[in-house]
């Protein structure tokens, strides 16, 4: 009963926020919408008793990624500036078409997949289990993807630093700071 009420509230909230993301007229507001969506999804995870996932969702997406997006917005955007132009008719039409196709595919996918309710096992999983699974070398372990992802991230970091270092324009009269 309780869970259902919350589910509908959250679902409405997520949908509204998602609409806000795409319909807001400047980047910063879109970022706010994105945060709301991500928080709503974190709430969904909580409803499903996946507290760890929910915490990670907030930490990584809200605390990390969106803040970085906001940071970029701060660097490029002006408050009074309207970043997005008003869409013309063709763009509206094509957007509607894409939306309809996507909606159709989603409905079809949901319909054709038979869902089973989560097993008791999955719900009882604790942080310790997650940790073990991530570093396990057994058949069901995730050590390989885990390491591959960390490698990719390191490569991305180094690449970002290299790019940022190259494009820094030399400033006239700027002294070497201690």
């Amino acid at each position: 009963m309780m869970a259902n009420v919350f589910f509908y509230i959250l679902a409405a909230f997520i949908l509204y926020s998602a609409l806000f993301v795409v319909s807001a007229h400047n980047l910063f507001r879109s970022a706010i919408g994105l945060i709301a969506v991500l928080l709503g999804v974190a709430g969904m995870y909580l409803l499903m008793d996946a507290q760890f996932l929910s915490a990670v969702q907030i930490m990584v997406y809200v605390g990390g990624i969106v803040v970085l997006i906001v940071f970029v917005v701060l660097l490029v955007a002006d408050v009074t500036e309207k970043t997005f132009q008003k869409a013309d008719r063709w763009r509206k039409l094509s957007a509607g078409f894409v939306l309809a196709v996507f909606f159709g595919i989603t409905v079809w996918a949901l319909d054709s997949h038979s869902f089973t309710s989560a097993s008791q096992n999955a719900q009882a999983a604790s942080v310790k289990d997650y940790g073990r699974a991530l570093l396990s070398t057994e058949k069901e372990g995730f050590i390989l993807p885990f390491e591959v992802i960390s490698l990719v991230l390191v490569a991305a970091l180094i690449g970002a630093i290299t790019i940022a270092g190259q494009t820094q324009a030399p400033v006239n009269g700027q002294k070497e700071l201690p």
Binding site: N172, Q174, L177
Partner: protein
Amino acid sequence: MSAPTTDTKAKSPTYQDYFINMGPQHPSTHGVLRMIVKLSGETVLGLTPHLGYVHRGIEKMTEAQTAVQITHLTDRLDYLSAHMNNWAWSMTVEQALGIAVPERAEYLRVIMSELTRIASHQLWWGVFGMDLGAFTPFLYGFRDREMINDIFEKSCGSRLTMNYICPGGVTQDVTGEFEGETRRFVEYFKPIIEEYETLVSGNVIIQERTKGVGILPADRAKAYGCTGPVLRASGVDYDLRKNHPYGVYPRFDFRTAVSPEGDSWARYIVRLEEMRQSLKIITQALDQMPKEGPVRTKLPPTLKIPKGRYMARGETARGEIAFFLVGNDSPKPYRVKIRTPCFSNLSAFPEIIKGWRVADIVTVLSTFDVVVPDIDR
């Protein structure tokens, strides 16, 4: 908030230029000083001071007043060095009219000036701490300044704009408590300077923030006509009290505080050392001062300033103040030009701040110790 159209120095703004307007209402410009800062990120690319927000036209006002009346205008210049400004003006008038000053008045002038110097540096020390983000030194500085203000209040009834030193001597003799109170202050303040050192000088963050920051080389300091602690911190041993002695200063044994580095830290320790030297001068002056005697030469009812040019210079807490006086045989001066220390000191500021951070503007400006009414006159 966009680029100022009147700023001819700045080229046409591009999307990369980020201008911020520091002042006229800003906590760290110490009054209504406005600086237009061109930034790249937090780095200062250029800085243009805009002066005149407290311009009162004192030089124009002098043309309508007599020599004694002008004394009252002088402590509105650098209100933290009121006694020294009075003294410099009095010297100008005395020079023009050939007035001699009684012995006791000369000593009172020295004591009052050195007390003012200490009070000014105490206030600066507190504000310096506050500019760097430490609020507590501010209160400490004001606590100790209070004692000096009390001494001033008892001598002339005023705590900030004293009008105590006037052409011909000082306005009135001090009370009997004066000597005891001043000695008590000297004894009290000697250990307090060490407390200042332990609270602020030893702090790692203070040293990080000031050492090597905002270096003013000696040749540039000389070229800009910087004076006072700003010049001495660049390694130039120049103090009017030593190099151009006036009053009874030659009779005292003291040392000019000099530091060769030219950075903010040097300006900081030079001022601390100056407080110590001032204490020394005060003690000696109290010892040598005649216990009684006249403190003011009787002046003629109208002081006609003879034709010609006169100039007297005095060392205030911020540097050299000079009054350039042109007389034309009338009681009112034909022209008075006031050369104020802060005006010259600040002119060196835009050059040395380039390449430093926004926070360093505050640090370096704080160690330049400008008083805006002194700049604007």
